[in-house]
Amino acid sequence: MSEAIAFYVLSGLVLASAWSVVRNENLFHAGLSLILCFVGVAGIYVNLDAPFLGAMQVLIYAGAIAVLLLFGFMLTHDLMNAKQERNQHAAGIFAAVLMALVLIGTIAGAQWYGSSGQPVKFGVESLARRYMQQDLVSFEVVALLLLASLMGAVVIARKEEGSRD
């Protein structure tokens, strides 16, 4: 029962803030809504018995990625010029509604197994074991990707020697 209440409250929060992310004229407010959305998704993870993933969501998404986006926004904008225009309005709505209808239709029409059994709670240990045994190669590849992106970001954003600014 409490799980159901939490689910509905959290999904309401997530969808409302996501609506604000895509619709808000003020991009700074959109960024703040994005963070609210991330925290709501973290709550969904906790509701799904994955508190570690929730904490990672808050740490990486809300604490780092969203702040990085806000940071980029603050560096590229004047102080009170936060208003944004948009294009392809009709096409966007059409594509989004079509996508939602197709997905929901598929989900509603399918037969789902496993939803009747008692879900298990994954600890951090099982995750660690998985990473160190089954998924070791992909784990290393992701580590390499992070390193590459770190260096790539440094190279891209670096000022050229002798450039104007």
Binding site: E3, A4, F7, S11, V14, L15, A18, W19, V21, V22, L27, A30, G31, F38, V41, I44, L48, A50, M56, Q57, I60, Y61, A64, I65, L68, L69, G72, F73, L75, T76, Q84, N87, Q88, H89, A91, G92, A96, M99, A100, L103, I104, I107, W112, Y113, G114, S115, P119, S126, L127, Y131, D135, V142, L146, S149, G152, A153, V154, I156, K159, D165
Partner: protein, 100 residues
């Protein structure tokens, strides 16, 4: 009782909202934000499957997705800043240099 379809529908709605944002936002940072929404919807999907199918694969994949999202945003924001610094542009429609 909340089952797997509830989470899947939530994630579908979130994905559609993200898609709408990607299509209509003109600001590069705004597009990145909408892409993050889509990543999150995928993550909810994965975690819901992982939970109800009693398999850690979804959880492990979620963490991968978060990591890749972090990498993507780092490079994305760096690109946006670089374009902004060199061309003083932030509107994606105007950044059409790479078009053939």
């Amino acid at each position: 009782m909340i089952g797997l379809p509830h989470y899947l529908i939530l994630s579908a709605l979130l994905f559609s909202l993200g898609l709408y944002g990607v299509l209509t936002r003109r600001n590069a940072i705004g597009v990145l934000m909408a892409v993050e929404l889509m990543f999150n919807s995928v993550n909810i999907n994965l975690m819901a499957f992982s939970h109800y199918m009693m398999d850690t694969a979804g959880l492990a994949f979620c963490i991968f997705v978060i990591t890749v999202a972090a990498a993507e945003v780092t490079v994305g924001v760096a690109l946006v800043l670089s374009v902004y610094r060199n061309r003083n542009l932030i509107d994606l429609d105007q950044v059409a240099e790479l078009k053939g």
